[in-house]
């Protein structure tokens, strides 16, 4: 297990390196005019040159990337170049992290709880009215662009429940709609997979034996079907949780939540390279960590999975 963990960790680092390098290179391919924003026309050629020089953008690409990784190894992510000039990147990001994490966690808890419950409910009513009702919900949520129904949630939710239209950190009720909005898609996903895995298990032979033992349907459901359906779910869970935390970019801007998602959109548009790089590093680490945790979690749940080859024959 330890050997496997270390091996996977090294693989994850390679993946991370590739992702971060790709982002770095892509940012360098953007037109240089973008670095000046509205001030472009007011600057002379030499002033522009000086600014680019100061940002280190005139060096050859391999020097730039070398500097970036050298800084990274020293634990330095650099300073913001445009968004909040000369403020260390971490200082810009840090106050925003708690918002994203809190919203993400709240929404994740809600989607797992309601999603699994919905999936179980669908399985128990397979082929009947409830199954079809929830399926309709899942189809709606996955096929209609989220911008459409999320706007409805915001507009009608606000007037229906008398909660604020935008996020306000001094009013707890303003949390409700953003969390619900993030959870709406998550619930559909968890419900769909849970139902699918449970139905898979239900059709297996050992369920027949469990029934022949005399177990009641509800005991079969809880002790066998649900327990076994959690295994494939477990692999998918951490990645989904982390995706929720990082993937609420649209919701953050819809409700003006000062989180990381909104910041990323902002700094890409304004070509603040150090900030983009740092945020991408965070997001990809989180994503890769999710996959890694999923594998570990599945191995912990499923005795058949041995992450290292066992020595000798059984």
């Amino acid at each position: 297990m330890l050997k496997y963990s270390i091996k996977r960790l090294l693989q994850s680092l390679v993946t991370l390196f590739i992702v971060v390098t790709a982002v770095f290179m892509l940012m360098r391919l953007l037109p240089v005019e973008g670095y000046f924003g509205d001030a472009y026309d007011k600057l002379t050629e030499s002033q522009r040159e000086a600014i680019l020089q100061k940002m280190g953008l005139l060096d050859p690409w391999y020097v730039q990337i070398g500097n970036f990784y050298a800084g990274l190894l020293r634990g330095e992510l650099g300073v913001s170049s445009i968004y909040r000039r000369d403020v260390p990147v971490l200082e810009v990001i840090a106050p925003r992290v708690p918002y994203s994490v809190r919203f993400g966690l709240a929404a994740t808890a809600m989607s797992i709880f309601l999603g699994l419950a919905m999936g179980i409910h669908m399985t128990r009513h397979k082929g009947r009215l409830w199954d079809k009702t929830w399926t309709a919900y899942i189809v709606f949520v996955t096929s209609v662009p989220s911008a459409v129904y999320l706007l409805f949630v915001q507009l009608y939710g606000t007037s229906l429940f008398k909660v604020p239209l935008l996020f306000d950190k001094y009013r707890p009720s303003s949390w409700i709609l953003p969390v619900v909005s993030i959870a709406v898609t998550g619930i559909a996903g968890y419900a769909m997979w849970m139902r699918r895995y449970m139905v898979d298990e239900l059709n297996k032979d050992y369920i027949k034996l469990a029934r022949a033992k005399g177990l009641s349907d509800s005991a079969i459901m809880t002790r066998h079907v649900m327990r076994n359906a959690y295994v494939p779910m477990a692999q998918y869970l951490p990645a989904a949780i982390l995706a929720t935390i990082s993937g609420s970019i649209y919701i953050e801007s819809l409700y003006s939540i000062p989180g990381m998602g909104g910041l990323l959109v902002d700094v890409i548009q304004r070509q603040d390279n150090p900030l983009v790089q740092a945020l991408c590093l965070i997001y990809s680490s989180v994503g890769i960590l999710g996959l890694y945790l999923g594998d570990l979690l599945m191995a912990a749940f499923d005795p058949r999975i041995q992450l290292v080859k066992s020595e000798g024959a059984r």
């Binding site: 034996l209 469990a210 022949a212 033992k213 005795p303 058949r304």
Partner: protein, 348 residues
């Protein structure tokens, strides 16, 4: 054996299924008696209704199936009247247990062997914790698994196919049932393991004194283990009797055909015997003898009227017009005559 009480008595059982709006009659009036301590083998080709028939004793028909008429009397209780799953659970696994065909998939891969046995003990005997674990390990030992305490903590994937079938048998035996139904218990196993499993079931039967029903299409298994044989065709028991009576004095043309298709009875360099045609469509009502269309020597009446049950001896009966006093005398096929001759020689 004939003096024994009937433990399970099935009369004129009709089981139907609803398949996409069409009604299929899987069991068409089957009757059977199971005697205490005996071993009964139910033989027949795929789709003849062997499995469905026995599943109806446990209330384990698929959701679209039901007992339409007839009776299943077990220990003086009419099982066919059972409606709720609660009622069935008093019988299922406790008094009538079942062993399935494929041990590779019959166990939950994520639960230890011990837990899976404990589950039954807990359910039917209220055993908990250490008591249940101890009883489970003891049961594992009884089915021939060495070092049962340690093995009980392992998962199914750490067991071979034969070992898993032993575990499935241990689960079935855990509550000391009156009847053990073995649905093709050796079909999925290696030939060398098959004999071990059959021996095990026989030994357990001696120890625990239960009654066994084998469902099989392997006549070799039948000859090996059975006291009595019931031959099923198209949802009906066409012939039943003691194992010698069925093997050496069969009366139904279908039993003849079934025995003739044993490869061991074929003559070298001659094509193996195969029954022509296909089993009847069970969606439609069947007129006359269900086997008549596949029987080249069928009588005229076979196509018109369903044969009643004729008794050859108190233990042996068959549903064929050939046993009617008015029927022409028809010699069984050569393979069957050879079987009987060999038997008579060995008896003399």
């Amino acid at each position: 054996m004939g003096t024994n009480e009937s433990l399970l008595s099935v009369r004129d059982l009709v089981v139907k299924f609803n398949l996409r709006g069409q009604v299929l009659t899987a069991i068409r009036g089957a009757s059977l008696d199971l005697y205490e301590g005996q071993t009964l083998a139910i033989v027949g080709e795929s789709g003849s209704g062997k499995s469905v028939f026995t599943k109806s004793f446990l209330g384990m028909l698929d959701q679209n199936g039901w007992v339409d008429s007839g009776s299943i009397l077990f220990e003086g209780v009419e099982l066919s009247r059972y409606k709720s799953q609660e009622e069935w659970r008093a019988v299922r696994g406790k008094k009538i247990a079942m062993v399935f065909q494929d041990p590779m998939t019959a166990l939950n891969p994520l639960k230890t062997i011990g837990k899976q046995i404990e589950e039954v003990l807990e359910l039917h005997h209220g055993l908990k914790g250490l008591h249940a674990a101890k009883a489970a390990a003891e049961m594992l030992g009884r089915v021939g698994i060495s070092d049962p305490e340690a093995r009980a903590k392992q998962y199914p994937h750490e067991f071979s196919g034969g070992m898993r079938q032993r575990v499935v048998i241990a689960i079935a035996m855990a509550c000391k049932p009156r009847i053990l139904i073995c649905d093709e218990p050796t079909t999925a196993l290696d030939v060398t393991i098959q004999a071990q499993i059959l021996d095990l079931i026989r030994a357990l039967q001696k120890d625990f004194g239960f009654t066994t029903i084998y469902i099989t299409h392997d006549l070799g298994v039948v000859a090996n283990v059975a006291d009595r044989v019931a031959v099923m065709y198209a949802g009906q028991i066409v012939e039943q009797g003691l194992v010698e009576e069925i093997f050496y004095d069969p009366r139904h043309p279908y039993t003849w055909a079934l025995l003739s298709s044993l490869p061991q009875l074929g003559v070298k360099h001659e094509p193996l015997y195969a029954i022509k045609g296909t089993p009847p469509n069970l969606f439609k009502p069947i007129k006359g003898d269900a086997f008549a269309p596949r029987n080249p020597k069928a009588l005229k009446i076979d196509f018109e009227e369903e044969p009643p049950e004729f008794f050859v001896s108190p233990t042996h009966s068959a549903r064929t017009w050939l046993l009617d006093p008015q029927a022409p005398k028809l010699e069984p096929p050569a393979a069957i005559r050879a079987l009987r001759a060999a038997y008579e020689r060995s008896e003399a």
